[in-house]
Every structure is written in structure tokens, then in C-alpha cells.
């Protein structure tokens, strides 16, 4: 979005509405992450069930935002930063919706774990949850501030979450090797950690989109793109 306002105020209003709705959706998703982890830590079944219900709002917003984007594309034929913004929203809503779905998956595992005593004190999983939640909050802030550098820093943080996941996985493996009785709970916890790790991946996608929106630079798959370029070059030679 350029700094100045549109000559056409109605168009400006549509873009503003899109921006605001996207942020509302983002904050819903952020709450879902926090609540899903809290329901695990506090063994709060009611909260888990409420969180599963809250996902429906996110689903509805995805459909509404898609509709708004299509309407603007059809009626306004946006170009340049407006076009990058609209295409960003179309993709962002998908990632946001998936993050919320993963939050629902966490809650479902929490409901399953409710019948069992707690396997171990939770240390790294809540740490992962906080990290993912903070990454999402940061990406939404970077989006509002149109700050590509902030978005770049979020991408780096994905490694932290990956490392935490590897650690959780190793630890749960030892529990499972120790006793077959631990397997049911350990696999649930491992799934939860995996969901959080996937959430961080989706958040990284969001950060890449913010960079594209602000700078017009596509930073996705840079390494693999460079590798395929190299392969193509070799084939030609």
C-alpha cells in the first residue's frame, strides 16, 4: 500500500476494511494458539472445547476475506502495491486458517490426554507455544508497520522452533522406549509439538509474504531455487 490515500474513497475504504479484517482474523488465530496450549497446561477440557468452537469464526473470516479480495480484483483491477496486498491477503488467510486448524488439533489431543495422568512436566512445549504465538504477533505487527526487516527476523526464528521440536521428540522417544505404557501419551505430545512446529512454518510463510508486499521481493525457496537454476544450467551445458 502506498502511503497516500486513494482518490476514490470507496476503494480506499474497501482496502482499509480488508486490512482491518485480516488483523482481526490474525488476533483470533493468536488467541487460539495461546488457549490451546493453556488448555494443555491447565488440563482445562472446557477451554479446549471452547477453542475448537472458536475456530469456526476463523473459518468464516477466511471465506469472507476471500470474497472481499475477489470483489476488489473484479471491480478495481488493482496494480502495484495494491495488487501485491490483495494477493497477499488471499494467501495469508489460507496460512492463518491452517494455523487455527492446528490449534484445534492440539485441543483434540488435549481432550484425549484428559483421561490419563500427565506423563511429565511440560517445559519445551509451552516454550514452543510462546515462541509461535510471539512470531505470529510479530508478523502481524510487521504487516501493519510494513516493515520487511522485522519480517526477515521472524523467518530466522523458525530454526528455534525446529530445534525445540527435535529436543521434544528425542525426549519423548526415551519415554516410549522406557515403557509401552507411555506410548499413548507420548505420541499425543509428540503430535502437539509437531503441530506447533508446523504453525511456525506457516508463520514463516506469512513473514515471506509481508516481505513481498513491502519490497516486491519474492524470498520463497531461495536456496532450492538457486539449486534448480544450477541444475538447469548444467543440463544446458
Amino acid at each position: 500500500m502506498a502511503g497516500r490515500e486513494h482518490t476514490d474513497r470507496e476503494y480506499e475504504q474497501e482496502l482499509r476494511q480488508l486490512r482491518e479484517q485480516l488483523l482481526v482474523m490474525g488476533s483470533h488465530v493468536e488467541s487460539i494458539i495461546g488457549d490451546s496450549i493453556r488448555s494443555l497446561l491447565e488440563r482445562d477440557v472446557k477451554l479446549a472445547e471452547r477453542t475448537i468452537q472458536a475456530d469456526k469464526t476463523v473459518n468464516r473470516m477466511e471465506v469472507e476475506l476471500d470474497g472481499l479480495c475477489l470483489q476488489i480484483l473484479a471491480r478495481r483491477q488493482p496494480v502495484a502495491s495494491d495488487l501485491r496486498f490483495i494477493t497477499l491477503v488471499l494467501k495469508v488467510v489460507t496460512d492463518l486458517e491452517r494455523i487455527a486448524d492446528l490449534g484445534v488439533n492440539i485441543c483434540e489431543r488435549v481432550l484425549e490426554l484428559d483421561a490419563e495422568p500427565q506423563l511429565k512436566p511440560y517445559v519445551d512445549i509451552p516454550h514452543m507455544g510462546q515462541e509461535v504465538q510471539s512470531m505470529l504477533r510479530e508478523v502481524l505487527d510487521a504487516f501493519v508497520a510494513k516493515d520487511a526487516n522485522r519480517a526477515r527476523k521472524i523467518i530466522e526464528r523458525d530454526e528455534v522452533v525446529d530445534a525445540l521440536y527435535a529436543q521434544v521428540f528425542r525426549e519423548l522417544l526415551t519415554f516410549m522406549m522406557e515403557s509401552g505404557h507411555n506410548v499413548y501419551r507420548a505420541t499425543r505430545l509428540q503430535s502437539i509439538a509437531k503441530y506447533l512446529e508446523r504453525m511456525a512454518d506457516h508463520t514463516t510463510n506469512l513473514a515471506e509474504m509481508v516481505i513481498f508486499m513491502v519490497d516486491g521481493e519474492d524470498v520463497r525457496h531461495l536456496t532450492s531455487r538457486a539449486e534448480t537454476d544450477e541444475l538447469i544450467r548444467r543440463d544446458h551445458n
Binding site: A2, R4, H6, T7, Y11, V79, A80, S81, R84, G216
Partner: protein, 262 residues
């Protein structure tokens, strides 16, 4: 230099090199300095708000500005390395190689055939079969032939607006120019006639350099390979069309094409 100074080169590329071009109306600078290379056999769109100098620039590419009293041009325009403002270069010869189509179609009150043959006859061509061949070729190039081949000797004024505009394009093409300048060629046409013209512009770019002034941003995005944005007599940005419409470098370009102007 005489007219021969601008006779077609052996393998014309149709490149137009503009260097330090200024246009003045009386003492007032209307345009410049503009330096740009308009690539041959491609479509270049000129966009910008009214009064930005884009039409002035277009007209300076084939010396049409000379017909405006008080207008004065400084700088160079070279077509395939031949200076069109060179000493002794005949403006009429320039316009034969760099044709023009205007916003409002302006067929002569003559037959379809005579409209297209007009420039050729002025150029001294009298051989009937050669004339007929060239008229047919030009009408085919402007995608009008199938619609008018059975009524070539009827008045051009009986054609629809879109057909009249394509007739004017045929008239410009008949004298076999290298470059075709178009000043809002579709602004007075309905969407279907506009689509015909745009499709035609695509086709013409295989053989001609096309420079088009348009107020329709989507049209510029659809038809052109390169886009130049003018503002208050300055060339603000000139780049590949896809770059201009996805990530322009100048904020003034961004503001204009997204509709955040003034």
C-alpha cells in the same frame, strides 16, 4: 540531406533513440529532458495525467509538433540511427516512416479503398494492380479486410467507429512505415471494438514499433511491453510493463497507477 536520408534502411529494427529531448510552447517548457530508447518491434505505452507531456512527446516522435505555431523542439530523435531532426531531413519523409493514428478516427469522406490508397497515391504510386495489392495488404494487416472486401468502393463514413479506426490504421500502414504512433486509439470505442484494436496492436508489434498513448491503465498493462510514465513534462519512470504494474520504483508512478493522485 534529402528525403533519402530517411529512406528505409536495409534491415530496419525500428528502434527509436530519444536523447535530451525538450519541447517548448513559446517560452514554456512542455517536456524534457527526455532520454530513452524505445525498442523496435515492440509496444511502448505512454501514460500519465492530462497535461503531463505524453501526447507532446508522441507528436515529437514524427515531427507533428512542427504544425503547432510557437512550438520548438530541442534534442535528438534517431530512428535506426537516422536523426529525424537532422538538417535537411524532410518532415513528410519522417511521417512516412513514422505513421500516426489519432484518438478520433478521421477517415476522409471518400471510399474505403481511396482512404487506404491516399498516401500511396501522394507518394506517386499509380500502377493499379500494385495499388490494389498494397491496399489489400494494409487492410489485412489492420484486420479489416474480411469485413470490407466486398464494399471497398463504398464510403468509409458508413463504417462503424471501430472499423473506421482500423481503417485509419490501414491508411497509416499502407505506406509501409517502421513505426506506428497511436494517440488514445481506443478511447472512443466500445469494449468489443477496443478488444479488436488491442488484438491488432499485438499483431502489429511483430512488424512495427508501436508507441501508444493511453489513459486506460489496464489497456497499457494489456497491450504494451514497456511503459513510460510522464508527469509534468518529465519522464518519471520507464521500464518493462510487468515491473511498472507490479513493483514500480518511483513513488509517483505508484501513486498514479494505483489511483492515489492529487
Amino acid at each position: 540531406m534529402t528525403q533519402t536520408a530517411l529512406a528505409a534502411s536495409e534491415s530496419p529494427t525500428g528502434n527509436l533513440a530519444v536523447s535530451e529531448l525538450f519541447v517548448y510552447y513559446g517560452p514554456k517548457r512542455a517536456l524534457g529532458p527526455v532520454t530513452m530508447l524505445i525498442p523496435g518491434k515492440q509496444v511502448t505505452a505512454l501514460v500519465g495525467p492530462s497535461g503531463c507531456g505524453k501526447s507532446t512527446f508522441l507528436r515529437s516522435l514524427n515531427r507533428m509538433n512542427e504544425m503547432i505555431p510557437g512550438c520548438h523542439v530541442k534534442g535528438e530523435v534517431n530512428l535506426d540511427d537516422e536523426p529525424i531532426y537532422g538538417p535537411g531531413v524532410d518532415a513528410v519523409a519522417v511521417r512516412r516512416r513514422i505513421g500516426m493514428v489519432f484518438q478520433k478516427s478521421n477517415p476522409f469522406p471518400k471510399s474505403i479503398y481511396d482512404n487506404v490508397a491516399y498516401g500511396l497515391r501522394i507518394g506517386g504510386l499509380t500502377d493499379r494492380s500494385e495499388l490494389g495489392g498494397k491496399v489489400e495488404h494494409a487492410l489485412k494487416q489492420s484486420a479489416l479486410w474480411d469485413e470490407v472486401k466486398d464494399r471497398l468502393h463504398e464510403s468509409a463514413l458508413g463504417l462503424s467507429g471501430g472499423q473506421q479506426q482500423r481503417l485509419c490504421i490501414a491508411r497509416a500502414l499502407a505506406v509501409e512505415p517502421d513505426v506506428l504512433l497511436m494517440d488514445e486509439p481506443a478511447s472512443a470505442l466500445d469494449p468489443i471494438a477496443t478488444a479488436h484494436i488491442e488484438e491488432l496492436i499485438h499483431e502489429l508489434a511483430h512488424n512495427y514499433t508501436v508507441v501508444i498513448v493511453t489513459h486506460n491503465m489496464q489497456q497499457a498493462a494489456r497491450v504494451s511491453h514497456h511503459t513510460a510514465f510522464f508527469y509534468m513534462g518529465d519522464l518519471v519512470e520507464f521500464d518493462k510493463t510487468e515491473t511498472i504494474f507490479t513493483k514500480p520504483k518511483q513513488s509517483r508512478t505508484e501513486d498514479y497507477i494505483t489511483g492515489r493522485f492529487g
